[in-house]
Amino acid sequence: MKRRSFHALALAAGLLASTAIFPAFAQNAPSDLIVAQAFDPTSLWPNFNTASDEINAGALITEPLFWTDPKTNKMMPVLALGYEMEDDTTILVSLRQGVSFTNGEPFNADAVVASFTNFMNPDVAPAYGRYASVFESIEKVDDNTVRIKTKSPYPALELALGKVYIVPPAYWAEVGADGFGAKPVGTGPFKLEEWRRDDRIVMTRNETYWGEPLKGIERVILRPVPDDMARAAGIEAGEFDIATNIPIANAAAIEAAGKKIVEVPSYRIFSLELSNLEMHPSPMHDKLVRQAVNYAIDKDGIIDGLFEGRAKHLNGQLLRSNQVGYNPDLTDYPYDPEKAKELLAEAGYPDGFEIDFRFPSGRYVQDQEVATAIAGMLEAVGIRPNMIQLEAGEFLRQLVGRELAPIGYVGLGPADDPDLQMSQYRSDWRYSYVSDPEVDRLIDAGAAEMDSGKRAVIYQELSKYMRDQASVAYLFQNVDLYATGSDVQGFLPRGDQLWMLYGVSVGDK
């Protein structure tokens, strides 16, 4: 029996199913700069939080006094004109004149004093307590000058000064920190037009901006795109002009599509914490074992293989080559599994041992992969790691709770200063897994020294000592990958993943 009418139904349904509607999707105006980051900010006040995606967004509107320029690695004045030290603890900062906030409030010493006062109040800016505690007081000298006092001589002063973003005091008093975070007003090149949470932040050009207008950019649109693959696909498809945190696996394809990849050596240093804390009894208390771990790991394999060369060697130390205190005489432990086995035997573990190995998943670039690779290398010399994968939040909790032991895979990315960097290994620091009086002594010495040359010597000594002790297993320095459209010029982020659009232009080369 034929059931013709039913065939008709089937046909209609099939057509309905297959005919998706594909109208051309909205193209963005050429003068829009679309930036894809991983996360949507919680606040557009840069001092609300320390996450780079948030600071980057807020810093397009609100500006700091100083900014360390990644091109020169030198501090350049932004809202300040310069500073001079009256003594070891007193700084006189002169301010740029004729600048005003987009709501009409003038930028002057009062605004700076008010912003510093906010910054120094742990209730208002709790995230910056470590830097705020540096400052003793701030006072207005005249409309264009302020005097800042620190509690004690502080070598990383420029860094601290650069953290403070200047807000209009009257507006701030009116809306408070939360209100400001939602609707910031600043002196920067852009002002907020629209913020659709988790979707987009639209900023338009600040017509009264004091500096050079950015060529070819009328609007900046920040899009949170949490999935790495999607972000890479978006820049490849030309939907974004700038995308951050590009997976290495996608870099080649993006370049092949005619886009640019920007490689930025990160401040983030990757190592294995090999705990010798009393609370973590393990073979890692033995220097020979720690050295064995260092010999066992094929750094080249990781850097060239897993990262396709887009990572840097550490050269057996935790300071980067362009930092004060870098020791050019040190080199990486060579990859020598035989030596590692010998050392293990010498330490009394000819048959190796089993040990917990904790690592995050989803916190660092290819973290699970690197950890698995390292586990394989350790296994090869007889150290049988029991892999414990930690979800990102849990990982962070264990890190600061000193639970990431006996072996933990970490990538620490402190601010760009040898003291801040090395003091993470002081035995009493919250997440230090090194307990060594000599290390503590050298760290203290470095922190008290204001003279750059003398500091360098102390840190070089510290690095050498730690390498000999194999206090950690040295892995690599991360390289952050950014991608930009072919017509975006001058985009260069910093190693701490912060970027400004100063000097960026879109259009003709």
């Binding site: 029996m1 034929k2 059931r3 013709r4």
Partner: protein, 325 residues
């Protein structure tokens, strides 16, 4: 029989499953005249329901039907599906056994009635349809037909539902009504009522009725002609008087003997054994394994249906029994 409304010739229906073929209705021929009632009698598994569905071509997809179904000179076995749809519900109405499940539970009585009208009397407008549907409900003596129109099947009792089914089957004034066990699921009191109603309606409209039943009592009350089926074949055919008063086939005799009657307290004359499975039909006479008169010949040779008296046909090697045994 003067004129013939429906003439079924050599109708066979078989289920085909891969290489297996199971013949459920085997070479059945009969005819019905206008205004007359033909009862098809048999137990479950005798093929009577498939026969009725074969006539209106509603057998499952796996079934194959051959033979002729002539109605008003048209061979229903050969007409187009479109034409067949016009005939179904138009010239031929059908009532099924289960009034509880034969009505669509999610449509009102009225909607289901109107549906048939819409299909076969498309010239009616909505108001006329409504009127005719209500009239149809009134005709089957459903109390408060206007109210019933808007009710759902589950709100009606079994008897009322069967009335609705009848109203539906008759709504387009069919020339032939096929009633498949229309009263089996009903209480005796309701059964009596429905049968009486069917009789009245048949008198009024002059339609022919094919009544399918296993109940010889129902046959006695309602049928003119009777056709007894066993295992897919006609075993005996005749007028109601011939079949009930003068049964010839051993199966018919056994069937009558199985019925407890108000007169006798004797042991029932049950037929031993069970109906053979469709897939395992005995060769020869299909009743032979259960037949008290069976001889080896029965198992090897299928008897033909032949007339013992005019119009009274029996399919048994020994018919008429008393002469041939």
């Amino acid at each position: 029989m003067a004129e013939t409304l429906l003439d079924v010739r050599n109708l066979s229906t078989a289920f085909v499953n891969g290489s297996k073929k199971v013949t459920v209705v085997d070479d059945v021929s009969f005819s019905v005249a206008p205004g007359r009632t033909l009862a098809i009698v048999g137990e479950s598994g005798c093929g009577k329901s498939i026969l009725s569905l074969s006539m209106i071509r509603l057998v499952p997809d796996t079934a194959r039907t051959v033979g002729q179904i002539l109605m008003d000179g048209e061979d229903l076995a050969a007409v187009s599906p479109q034409r067949m749809r016009q005939i179904r519900g138009g010239k031929i109405g059908m009532i099924f056994q289960e009034p509880m499940t034969s009505l669509n539970p999610i449509m009102t009585v009225g909607a289901q009635l109107s549906e048939a009208l819409k299909l076969h009397v498309p010239e009616l407008n909505a108001a006329e349809r409504h009127e005719r549907a209500v009239e149809g409900l009134r005709r089957v003596r459903l109390p408060a037909p206007e109210a019933q129109f808007h009710r759902y099947p589950h709100e009606l009792s079994g008897g009322m539902r069967q009335r609705v089914m009848i109203a539906m089957a008759l709504s387009c004034e069919p020339e032939l009504l096929i009633a498949d066990e229309p009263t089996t699921a009903l209480d005796v009191t309701v059964q009596a009522e429905i049968l009486a109603l069917l009789g009245d309606l048949q008198r009024d409209t002059g339609m022919a009725v094919i009544l399918i039943t296993h109940d010889l009592g129902v046959v006695a009350e309602f049928a003119d002609e009777v056709m007894v089926m066993y295992a897919g074949r006609i075993v005996e055919r005749g007028t109601v008087g011939e079949i009930l008063s003068d049964p010839q086939h051993p199966y018919t005799i056994g069937l009558m003997g199985s019925i407890p009657r108000f007169g006798s307290d004797d042991r029932l004359l049950a037929i031993e054994g069970t109906v053979p499975a469709l897939s395992a039909m005995p060769p020869g006479c299909r009743f032979a394994p259960r037949c008290v008169f069976a001889v080896p010949r029965c198992a090897g040779e299928s008897p033909v249906l032949r007339e013992v008296t005019a119009g009274h046909a029996v399919s048994c090697h020994f018919a008429p029994l008393e002469d041939n045994l």
